[in-house]
């Protein structure tokens, strides 16, 4: 039955995330924005101790079977706190998602069990290259078999948590590389490269517009040797084999990125709401829209857009939890949320005037943080392309 209401126990569970966002993230938000590349170890230690996987599933009660939806809900709360810090939280991250999507049961156990204890750890995913971003089928990084090893050569960029995963913790990086250039997409496979593997180097860490608390690394692989069983899944080159796994990862991660955007958008919206309240700006729901002030109209528009994005996101996550194919809906959620929140945060800066533009408050930061959500994990345009192909019944050859 159609229902949009969260159960009381779920609301309580989210309250814990909200408290984390409010008490642990917001107070240090500005500090780690102004001082890019500084490492928020105190926050990391607390979040690592508090939960092995802060963006994970509630394990303390009966709410199971809705993993993706709950991840979206907790993600929204934490990104309401700070999207950059959220991305920096020690956890399996996108590297873990790749292992889960493409790995064998034995590999999942081998690579993921480290996140159950010990020191904080990270795992990252490396797909993008200097010469290819959205067109990930054009990957040039190679993996060549030499005896009992794979030898990886190439350069990866825009690797979230790349520094922490590759060098500064006992984590790993999942590198997508081709084992057969002629086979195109089918030849692209995911490989787990352990931290500090000789041949893997962090070339630099990027300076960014926003989400500055999260490290974005450039990694180079020069004759980087890894054991054969670090290839996730099968080495067999089958049509759409390896690339299918990348896509499967996106179906789960796009709603999460949409939820990140929504968290940032809600932070901006809440801030505007509070300042309206303090200044006695009314919000008259129910009256003729033609009689609203420009301020009311703008605010209500932002609020509606945010809700539309959230409902599309919940649907995409719910479908995945229900075992349905959600490729179209995941892209819809991501496209809507990326654009809507970009505009919401820009409007928030405008509505708050000098207060919005000032670095004394966080609104300008949220506008900078929001923008990435319309870019990473598939740009607006890539998601439009995916949606268009699906609704038109076109292949990537027919519509590109």
């Amino acid at each position: 039955m159609i229902d949009f209401e969260l159960e009381p126990q779920l609301v309580n569970w989210l309250g814990v995330y909200h408290a984390t966002a409010e008490q642990l993230m917001r107070p240090i938000s500005r500090q780690f924005d102004e001082n890019e590349h500084e490492e928020p170890w105190q926050f990391w230690q607390m979040s690592w101790a508090g939960s092995r996987d802060m963006a994970g599933v509630p394990s303390d009660h009966a709410l199971t079977g809705s993993r993706n939806l709950y991840t979206c809900l907790s993600t929204e709360e934490l990104c309401w706190g700070d999207a950059g810090l959220f991305l920096s939280i020690p956890n399996p991250g996108l590297g873990g998602a790749a292992v889960t999507a493409a790995g064998t049961p034995e590999q999942k156990k081998r690579f993921l069990s480290r996140f159950r204890g010990g020191k904080p750890k990270w795992a990252a995913m490396a797909i993008t290259e200097p010469g290819c971003g959205s067109d990930s089928a054009a990957i040039t990084t190679t993996a060549r078999r030499e005896g009992d090893d794979w030898v990886i050569n190439g350069t990866k960029i825009f690797c979230t948590a790349g520094l922490m995963s590759a060098e500064k913790s006992e984590g790993f990086v999942v590198v997508w590389a081709t084992i057969d250039r002629i086979a195109g997409r089918a030849g692209i496979k995911p490989f787990v490269v352990e931290h500090n593997t000789p041949g893997m180097t962090v070339v630099r860490v990027e300076n960014k517009l926003g989400i500055r608390a999260s490290d974005t690394a450039m990694l180079s692989f020069e004759n980087c040797r890894i054991p054969l069983d670090h290839l996730l899944g099968s080495a067999e080159v089958t049509p759409a084999g390896g690339f299918k796994d990348v896509m499967a990862t996106f179906d789960a991660t796009r709603p999460i990125v949409a939820a990140m955007a929504i968290g940032v958008g809600r932070a901006a919206l809440d801030f505007v709401h509070d300042s309206f309240k303090r200044n006695n700006v009314p919000l008259r729901y129910g009256i003729s829209p033609r009689r609203l002030t420009a301020m009311e109209r703008d605010f209500m528009e932002m609020e509606m857009q945010l809700k539309a994005a959230r409902l599309l996101t919940w649907r995409a996550a719910w479908m995945l939890d229900s075992g349905m194919r959600n490729n179209l809906e995941a892209s819809m959620a991501k496209a809507k949320a990326g654009k809507a929140v970009t505009l919401i945060t820009q409007k928030a800066v405008e509505l708050l005037g000098p207060l919005g533009y000032s670095r004394k408050e966080l609104v300008e930061k949220w506008m900078r943080d929001a923008k990435i959500n319309d870019i990473f994990e598939g740009t607006q345009q890539i998601n439009q392309l995916i949606i268009a192909r699906r609704i038109l019944g076109y292949s990537s050859k027919e519509l590109n």
Binding site: A308, L312, Q384, A388
Partner: protein, 369 residues
């Protein structure tokens, strides 16, 4: 618990109404728009689906189905997907039947509902909007003043569907100007009441198949027994929310029709050696339209589900209605744009949908879930 699953009844309702809309309503839509009338035989068929009597109580002849706003929204979307004028006409009797069944006294139910639960289509309607640029349901200008044992209604109403053929009209008027929404009550006014004048049929940009009328009230007197809900009156905020969800749902139907038609056209129409749908400029427009159709539906369902839980849904239904009105217009406009010159020609339905979609940002209270 979050769920996007329709239950079996909803799936069945959608399937039945969708088939009717595609097979029967849509083919008659253009003729209705040009001729200004809805064919009686189609109305009779729609009546048989139980759109009005289905949710009326069994003791007065209805089927006694529970009234569920989400189901109402699903049905409204499908009907409007066929044709908006038809949808509003076929559902108009609900405008009187549902508020009376939900908020009326026992006596009112037994007096006014049986004809609406009978075997043939019977016109009934409600008068909410007023002919003024600053019309606002929270500052209604039509008043009902209590004068020596009677209510005296004074004011003007517009966009009253089927007013000329309805025996009784549910008229919204404020008994306490300045009180806002809580001051608004509903009165069951007979069409031939002294003081009530029904103008000639309205001429509008869209909704041309729907017969709607302007009403003027000059010292129109009704007894206290004709105030819906008697001395308790009605929950006008809820009534308004129910109509807004209905309008939002119909906006989804119109938008979906325009989206699907232009999508199919873009796959057929060739330019520069291939279908125009293979060009990103067109394909991306369609992608955005697809997102908006789904977004407006989800906002509508959310507001509907809020109503079904018995909650105050004034804000949610307002959001759904405002979002859907803007999105329907944008989607219909894009559909015309995708068809280009052909979209502007009356041979294709998209220009009609654009005219109809423009109405959603203007109109209030023409249907109810």
């Amino acid at each position: 618990m979050i769920s996007f699953d329709l239950n079996d009844e909803q799936k069945m309702a959608r399937e039945t109404v969708a088939a009717f809309a595609v097979e029967q309503i849509r083919p008659a839509a253009r003729i209705a728009d040009e001729s200004g009338s809805i064919p009686a035989d189609l109305l009779a068929k729609a009546w048989e689906l139980g759109l009005v009597r289905g949710c009326l109580p069994e003791n007065i002849g209805g089927y006694g189905d529970p009234r569920i706003a989400v189901t109402g929204a699903i049905v409204a979307e499908e009907l409007a997907y066929g044709d908006l004028s038809f949808a509003l006409h076929a559902m108009a009797p609900r405008l009187l039947a549902f508020p009376v069944a939900e908020m009326g006294t026992e006596l009112q139910c037994s007096r006014f509902l049986p004809p609406l639960a009978a075997d043939n289509f019977v016109a009934a309607t409600a008068a909410l909007m007023e002919p003024s640029f600053d019309f606002d349901p929270s500052e209604m200008k039509t008043t009902a003043q209590w004068v020596s044992g009677e209510y005296v209604i004074t004011g003007a109403k517009c966009y009253v569907p089927l007013a000329a053929e309805s025996e009784v009209i549910l008229v919204c008027a404020t008994t306490n100007p300045g009180l806002g929404l809580p001051g608004v009550e509903a009165f069951l006014v007979r069409r031939d009441s002294p003081g009530l004048k029904i103008s000639g049929r309205e001429k509008n940009m869209g909704l041309r198949g729907l017969a709607s009328f302007e009403l003027t009230f000059e010292q129109c007197r009704v007894g206290p027994e004709d105030r819906v809900g008697g001395e308790h009156g009605i929950d006008f905020s809820r009534l308004l929310s129910e109509t807004r969800v209905g309008m939002a749902a119909m906006a989804v139907g119109v938008a979906r029709a325009a989206f699907e038609y232009s999508r199919d056209y873009a796959k057929e129409r060739k330019a520069f050696g291939g279908p125009i749908a293979t060009k990103q400029a067109i394909a991306f427009m369609l992608a955005d339209m697809a997102i908006e159709v789904d977004a407006m539906r989800l906002l509508t369902w959310e507001a509907a589900s809020w109503l079904d839980k018995g909650n105050d849904a004034l804000k949610e239904s307002y959001q759904a209605r405002n979002y859907a009105a803007a999105a329907a217009l944008a989607v219909a406009d894009n559909a015309v744009q995708i068809l280009g010159g052909h979209g502007y020609i009356r041979e294709h339905p998209v220009e009609m949908w654009l005219r109809n979609a423009r109405g959603f940002g203007v109109l209030e209270g023409l249907t109810i879930v």
